[in-house]
């Protein structure tokens, strides 16, 4: 597929590295001069912008973590004036406190540019109708994909998540050719369509899917492609980077990370040491042009590896392979990030149940289900079933409120839940991807 921005996408590797160095150097100077948080970090690490003499010297800079965003709530580490911001997105945090991401006009433009390159590398363009079935709102998925698709001249159908039968009808009636959503939602949509007597493969014009926001596998890709008669592409991002940001190209050989926008390193999750291409480690990103909320050596927590060989599509930028897992205990349930610590915090505020819990994640049909097992407290135990059902529903309601994802609650006997630390017991993930 022809590049959207050939000069950028096919830049010779040497030139790209020189550009990255120039951008990184000016980013570091800018942050050292104007960002109190990052200057303090650099001083603690005893590194000065003058120490950055080559691109490799980036490894001297301190890392940033999710907790830095949380501690900086809501906008303490922003690097733009309030009146320069054109948007906020908010994601739920690990312990109930959310993280806020701000965007300048240029941040939105670069975000859209990045996705425009990705979308067009998979053949999306004018004449296409793309159904955006990621959630719109505080979550970055919906609006991110929306802006990127408009940028390449596609027609956007902003369906957001839910009301699946209507989504299938619109897909047929408006001759939708592409969709952006989680892989599990697309599978669900395929099942709903079949119940309606509609085959996505034979009865719709759908030909491309941009699927992400949750882990999936090549086996799942084959299933989706064969069953629905489309090409399914991986899309990657997190709110800290802006949102969904990078995709595979038509070759389906890894996700292209646009080097003029982001500098990636794969580091050893324990030592922080930079790893060689091909070695699995934690993805670490420096956003080279982000203005409102700069990200320098941000430890995303996703495990992957740099692809070594050049892509057959001719684009020169680095690629990463499929995300293999997490360095922490984060779960992704129906595209939403869930930390067991969020469940713990929510339960502490409900006196009717104990503080011990177990999370069981499974996939019923195509959709993830999340079950939280809790014990009824001694004080709250009533022998009336209706009282116990009220407690169950109350906990479900509270957890849904703080996790932004639907949860079933099971009341269990005291002493049957894992008492001691150990993620393997607190979380049981039965999904096979």
């Amino acid at each position: 597929m022809a590049p959207w921005n050939p000069r950028a996408e096919e830049m010779p590797p040497d030139e790209l590295r020189r550009l990255q160095f120039k951008l990184a150097k000016s980013l570091v100077y800018r942050l050292y001069s104007f960002n109190d948080f990052y200057r303090r970090r650099m001083k603690e690490q005893q590194v000065h912008p003058d120490d950055i003499r080559t691109l490799e010297d980036i490894a001297k800079l301190p890392f940033m973590y999710k907790r830095d965003l949380r501690d900086g709530y809501p906008d303490k580490i922003f690097s733009a004036e309030k009146n320069e911001l054109v948007r906020y997105h908010v994601s739920s945090g690990t312990t109930g406190k959310p993280t806020v991401v701000g965007y300048t006009e240029r941040d939105i433009k670069n975000w859209s540019e990045s996705l425009a390159r990705g979308f067009s590398s998979c053949g999306l363009g004018p004449g296409d109708v793309i159904q955006v079935s990621y959630g719109y709102g505080l979550f970055t998925g919906g609006l991110g994909a929306h802006y990127g698709a408009e940028r390449v001249g596609a027609t956007v159908l902003p369906t957001s998540v839910g009301n699946t039968e209507r989504q299938v009808e619109l897909m047929q009636d408006l001759h939708v050719t592409a969709i952006a959503c989680t892989p599990s939602y697309l599978l669900h949509m395929g099942e709903v369509a079949e119940k309606m007597g509609v085959s996505i493969k034979d009865d719709t014009d759908l030909r491309i899917g941009f699927l992400g926001a949750e882990p999936w596998s090549d086996q799942m890709r084959s299933r989706i492609q064969d069953w629905l008669g489309i090409r399914a592409y991986d899309i990657y991002g997190t709110s800290e980077l802006s949102g969904p940001m990078f995709t595979e190209c038509a070759e389906q050989q890894g996700i292209h990370i646009w080097g003029d926008l982001a500098l990636i390193e794969i580091v050893d999750p324990t030592t922080g040491e930079v790893l060689e291409p091909g070695e699995q480690g934690e993805l670490t990103i420096t956003m080279l042009q982000k203005e409102a909320l700069p990200m320098v050596r941000y430890r995303i927590g996703d495990l992957t590896a740099l692809e070594e060989d050049a892509c057959a599509c001719g684009r020169t930028h680095p690629r990463i392979g499929r995300i293999r897992g997490r360095v922490d205990d984060m779960l992704i349930v129906r595209g939403i990030n869930v930390f067991p610590s969020q469940v713990e915090h929510a339960l502490l505020e409900i006196p009717d149940v104990g503080r011990h819990f177990q999370i069981v994640v499974d996939r019923k049909g195509a959709l993830d289900s999340m079950l939280v097992r809790v014990e009824v407290s001694e004080e709250a135990f009533s022998d009336k079933i209706t009282d116990l059902m009220v407690i169950k529903r109350k906990v479900e309601h509270r957890l849904r409120g703080s996790l932004n994802v639907g949860v079933d609650v099971e009341l269990v006997e005291p002493g049957t839940l894992p008492r001691f630390e150990g993620k393997s017991k607190k979380v049981v993930d039965k999904r096979s991807l």
């Binding site: 022998d383 079933i385 116990l388 099971e410 009341l411």
Partner: protein, 143 residues
């Protein structure tokens, strides 16, 4: 006076899976506690076992020590004629007095059938039932 007719039932939280009733009943057997009557109420994934026993305090302690969630509930037990109309008589008395039955279970014993009731106003219920000639179980329960 009405108080002596208020019977302490033990209620035990139980997960809805094989072997749970056996665990509860086994614990009571080992403590030599006799069960007069019991019922199981089930909901989504869990249930409550309710039992009338000869030594409710001991049963409570025994089961709590084993990790069960146990509580006492005030119920009343009334003897019924073990023939057509027996239940109707009792239910009519409570209905006339506008006393609501939250749950009930029954057993048919050697000399009479007994209806065990959890009602919203236990002492009122006792007064009305006695007033209309009802015969109630008295605590402590014994054979």
């Amino acid at each position: 006076m009405e108080k002596s007719y208020i019977v302490k039932q033990i209620s035990i939280f139980s997960e809805n899976r094989p072997g749970r009733l056996a665990a509860i009943a086994g614990a009571l057997r080992d403590a030599k506690i006799n069960i007069f009557a019991f019922s199981i109420a089930e909901a989504d994934g869990f249930g409550v076992v309710r039992a009338l026993v000869d030594r409710p305090e001991d049963a409570h302690r025994t089961l709590t020590d084993l990790g069960f969630r146990v509580s006492f509930t005030d119920v009343i037990g009334i003897k019924m004629r073990d023939e057509p109309g027996g239940l109707s008589d009792i239910a009519s008395i409570l209905g006339d007095a506008e006393i609501n039955i939250e749950y009930a279970y029954a057993y048919s014993g050697k000399d009479a059938a007994v209806l065990i009731l959890r009602v919203d106003q236990a002492e009122d219920a006792v007064r009305h039932l006695l007033g209309r000639g009802g015969e109630l179980l008295k605590t402590p329960l014994s054979k």
